[in-house]
């Protein structure tokens, strides 16, 4: 589904990704871990299409298409979803409006009619119940005055409504208490599907107790330096990142 080949990307002239390779197939859940500043968030932003990052070489293919050629909104409509580490507050833009506009943008792109208003509300309420969100959040401004946990739940709500083919969740577990973490994990797990891939970007093993990955990668210095199964995450939790970094540079 997603093929990242020898990807190099920089911001403000500083190279952050230095030749990254990653292959994600439909139905898989990947976890990308790594120390601070290793390039995890950069990878997520580059795949979503943030204009501040310049791709200097390499290729990113998504479902056979050259992703780097597409605008962020085209990537989203093709089926990529980025769950933000810091979801953006947009005062005055109604949450329900955004959800509906997002769903319809994707439907239109795929030649479908706009979603029926009743159908939309029913679906949104269902997903909110699953995430333990009060329906009043539909009528609030996007993330306006939301707590950290509410913002992350709202990201997962958007993901659940958009049903992306590839979801990249950037530090979705940061700032969550245990109840919110479970609710978010529950939402993510409900979307596990043979047709869908999920990439979790995270610092901590804790999230992986609730969302079990098929593959775990260690990102350091802008490259993936080690890949394994979920046992790698446990080993990282025990021993830290240093030994992997040392082993890779040896």
């Amino acid at each position: 589904m997603l093929e990242v080949k020898n990807l190099k990307a920089s911001i403000g002239g500083k190279e952050i990704l230095t030749g990254l390779n990653l292959s994600v197939k439909a139905g898989e859940v990947h976890a990308i871990m790594g120390p601070n500043g290793s390039g995890k968030s950069t990878l997520a932003q580059v795949i979503a299409g943030h204009a501040d990052y310049e791709v200097t070489s390499g290729a990113v293919e998504f479902l056979g298409k050259d992703l780097l050629d597409l605008d962020p909104e085209e990537r989203a409509r093709e089926g990529i979803f980025l769950g933000f580490q810091y979801p953006v507050e947009i005062p005055g833009v109604n949450n329900a409006y955004l959800l509906k506009a997002a769903v319809n943008a994707k439907r239109k792109h795929h030649g479908m009619d706009e979603i029926d208003a009743f159908e939309f509300l029913k679906l949104a309420r269902e997903k909110m119940t699953m995430l333990g969100m009060d329906p009043v959040f539909l009528n609030r401004g996007v993330n306006e005055g939301f707590s950290g946990g509410e913002k992350k739940r709202n990201e997962i709500l958007q993901m659940a409504m958009l049903e992306p083919s590839l979801a990249i969740l950037d530090e979705t577990d940061s700032g969550l208490d245990i109840d919110a973490l479970k609710a978010v994990a529950n939402g993510v797990n409900s979307l596990r599907d043979p047709e869908r891939a999920i990439v979790l970007v995270t610092h901590y093993q804790r999230l992986l107790d609730y969302i079990e990955p098929d593959y775990v990668h260690v990102l350091s210095g802008g490259q993936i330096i080690r890949s394994g199964d979920k046992s790698l995450a446990l080993e990282l939790e025990d021993r830290g990142y240093e030994w992997v970094v040392e082993a890779a540079s040896a």
Partner: protein, 426 residues
Amino acid sequence: MSATAINQDMLLAVVEAMPGDKLAEARRAAAFRFAELGFPTVGQEDWKYTNLSVAAELGNEWLDAYVANGGQESDSRTGNLIAAVQNRIDAYWIILRDGFVDSNLPDVDGIRVSRIAEQGHRPLEGADAMSVFNTALLRDGLYVRAEPGAVPDKPIGILIIDNPENAMSQTRVMIDSGENSHLRIVECCLSSEAGRQFTNSIFEADLADGATLDHVRIQNRDEAHVSVNKLSAKLRRDSNFNHNSFDLGGALTRNDVNAEITGEGASVNLNGLYLAAGDQHIDNHTSIVHGVGPSTSEEEYRGILSGRSRCVFNGKVIVSPGADGTDSRQSNHNLLLSDRAEIDTKPELEIYADDVKCAHGATVGQLDETALFYLRTRGLGLDHARRIITRAFAAGTLSTLAVAECHDYLADVLDQRLANLIDAKQ
């Protein structure tokens, strides 16, 4: 005589030729007074950003035409224009056309509406040049009195339609809000056709003890229109004045809003939104005088500027000696959609009392790139994302709308106007 000045001889000749109605005497006195004043010039601090030479030019054109045709005004074709507003806003409507009252006056319980040229009037206030000029050439105007305790079920709507074929018009609306009355007024200012015209308007309100006056002005005139608008409100004990202005059209618009608190417990709310594109110029000068305390004032003006537009916000708050317990908040926020647009924003606080709370703040910024990216990652196109963030900024001013009946109409005209602004942002 320079091009920026009104031809004084012509002015006096026209005033002599105007009808001998109940305004005649006031007109004559004002004409002589105006001869000493003349239009404000950019040399005056309060007018340094706003040049009235076009207004003077149009004024002279109108004076010439008056002498030539004896004051016959061209009829304007306004059928659809009137229906488009009246079908959307449920109100008791009155039409003012080029300074004449051009409709039946509504019959509302507890409200008296009259034409000032016919029924007489209280003294015409305003010693500033533009007010004096208005008085000198005033042909008619509206007087609205709310009897004590009157609370009409619907707002009074005043549809002000000016026709560019008549180069200039003077408009005056006088309000007397009786004790504990609650009057709501919507003013819609429109042009009947495209073209240059100058409107000089005055809206003056006197609020008795405990009275509330809600006032919304929607200005959506032709892009060549020039207007100078003065609004003044005098507040007695426990009275409330709530004002929203929406400036969407016009080539040059200057608003002076002056609220004077003369009684304890009174409150003033001023909210403004200005949307400027192309070469539009919109200048808001507000002044709130806290003559006594405790009293409160809240003021928020927002602007969205594109093209080479130029806007001015000058917010003066004066807390008089002894006006303890004054609580005043003021803010002015601006969104610049183009590098060539310019806003000059200036709070002016003069505080002569000790126990007061006064806060003010101004911001000028562009669309938030992070928010744009966020919306795009949700599949919204760049233009769509820009539009909804811009709209959200503007819609903030609808949350304080003093007359709910005009909400839907306003939301629609705002949307249309914003779409133009975003499409033509450079």
